[in-house]
């Protein structure tokens, strides 16, 4: 017997959570785009999507974030620190790759400096992951040693029932246990079987990839030029990636007042590394693409002991020229050794 959340109790669940002071965010399809957004009832949710186009990262590390409001007068400078609203949130129906993305980024935002903006949001959020029932051609979680039912980054884990009538439900963190306590009367004991987890084929050998990347002789390899020739440097692979986390600090305003903001930036952009002098150490798209791969599968691993990729496949799924990291890592796997 396992505990289940019947589908027809989801509305009551949402209501109970809202009553307990949470906002509930779930996959939605709005204005021709799928993303996580606030919902009021189960029918607002688009739970059948394999993956939303946008990631939940947006709700922890938004594309633009005000940091400080400032005013400069003749004799002094007034500034006010701006912090995100301290609202309790539940993310319902997160895919394992997106939940893992948050866990992968935690060490980065807490390393030399604890990023209050990230951790405030992390601490006020409960992640309810739903194991995948379906995968597409681009999913590659298994290639990065995760899986369609990985609990990494999750507080509560849901596994869809084979009958389609609900989910097996299990708390996998203290926060998850506390959340389930708020809805325990709605949960049932049942012997219903979970639906089988989809088979996601391994697309590359991540160990081989890491080994090749770690060899300094390959840094200047012609490989990088050949593989990235068609990249148009649009940056959408980085902006849609659940683990990409680069940002730029910009002051917006006039001479006397303004707002300092933290805005997404991307290593795919030429401007990303452009010096004031005009010199650009990454002056070709191939060097920028190399940076993206090296950062994810070498530097990040070296610093935090984990690769900066959760295998969601978005970078390939939406690339306007059908690139993405999968092809590159496959090619590296198959290089003659």
């Amino acid at each position: 017997m396992t505990r289940i959340l019947p589908k027809n109790k989801l509305d009551d669940c949402i209501a109970a959570w809202q009553k307990a002071g949470y906002s509930v965010l779930a996959p939605v399809q709005r204005h021709d785009m799928s993303s996580f957004d606030e919902v009021q009832k189960a029918s607002d949710m688009a739970l059948d999507l394999i993956l939303t186009e946008r990631t939940i990262k947006d709700h922890f590390f938004p594309q633009t974030e005000p940091l400080i409001k400032y005013k400069i007068s003749k004799h002094d400078i007034d500034s006010e620190t701006m912090t995100p609203p301290d609202k309790k949130r539940i993310f319902f129906g997160v895919r394992p790759c997106d939940a893992s993305g948050l866990a992968i980024d935690d060490p980065l935002f807490g390393w030399d400096y604890k990023d209050d903006y990230w951790f405030r949001r992390r601490n006020n959020s409960v992640i309810v992951t739903i194991a995948c029932a379906e995968a597409d051609d681009f999913c590659m979680c298994t290639s990065v040693k995760l899986s369609p039912d990985s609990t990494k980054g999750a507080d509560v884990m849901l596994r869809p029932l084979a009958s389609g009538n609900g989910w097996q439900i299990e708390a996998v963190s203290e926060r998850g246990t506390a959340l389930l306590d708020t809805v325990s009367p709605l949960l049932q004991e049942s012997s219903d079987q979970a639906a089988p987890v989809p088979q996601v084929a391994e697309k590359f050998d991540v160990e081989k990839v890491m080994e090749w990347l770690a060899d300094p002789a390959n840094f200047e390899s012609q490989f990088w030029k050949d593989i990235s020739m068609r990249c148009i440097g649009c940056g959408s692979c980085t902006f849609l990636c659940p683990t990409c986390h680069c940002f730029d600090i910009q002051d917006e305003g006039d001479t006397y007042q303004g707002i300092r903001r933290k805005n997404w930036d991307s290593c795919s952009f030429a401007l990303f590394t452009m010096h004031t002098s005009g010199h650009n150490p990454r002056n070709a798209q191939s060097t920028r693409w190399r940076q993206r791969i090296m950062h994810k599968f070498n530097y990040y691993q070296g610093k935090f002991g984990v690769n900066s990729c959760s295998g969601c496949g978005r970078c390939t799924r939406q690339c306007p020229v059908d690139m993405g990291i999968t092809e590159t890592l496959q090619a590296i796997t198959n290089l003659p050794r």
């Binding site: 204005h31 148009i232 952009f269």
Partner: protein, 276 residues
Amino acid sequence: MGIQEQYRSEAAALLSSGEVKLVIGFGPGSTADRRRPLFARTPEEAEKLVLDPACISNLTTYLVAGGLLSDGKKVAIFLKPDGIRSLNILVSECQVKPEQVVIFGYAIENNEIRPLSGRSIGDFAEIGSKIRTATPPPAVQKEAERLEAMSPAERFEFWKEQFSKCIKCYACRQACPMCYCRRCIVDVNQPQWVSTSSHTLGNFEWNLVRAFHLAGRCAACGACDRACPVNIPLRLINYRMGKEVKEAFDYHAGESSDQKPVLASFSQDDPETFIL
């Protein structure tokens, strides 16, 4: 011999004779229904070229990227009519020397490939001459009419919702052959003229800049629209700007490679309705 094989062997011949340094075409993609840009530098690589109805992207973007043509050498490129139209615009704006480009032309009709005869831009005058009378795809026309029937407030609301999705990745710009500026205005950061923030105002700023800069220059290839990762219907903006230019100046971008860029030229017959 099918058109794919014919173009493959012609491409291989151009490469082995050294007439062109590169052939830009299509190769197999990561799934059965995807094709991706393929750059052939040797006759062997040319054997991998694919041409079928899934080859829909506009490859002219690559002609103006990374100084490809700055060495004066020739390249060959696979183009369908909207690509030829973009090339006309690029030539008329002095970005590409027509003698540097060998064209493998094709059209997709009823899910089949038809070759277009000719190899240099001058051979495709007929395609340009059809632009004047062409009708936009029914889906675009329908959506555009729906928007035009709205009140200005409703239309503003529509675009506000759409632009609020924008993440300023600039994929629309990077995919566009006409966005060839060495430094786009939004990347000019000393000072930062256009804010980099992707809030509603910033997103409006960017999308308006893009709309204005492409007025009378858009080839309606749809590259921006397909590239946008958050599905903003950019085609509708381009369509509307094209219509404005057509009505004001009787101008159709990309009709020929020697037309004068409409907003960069003056004619005594230009309407002066904007002068009060």
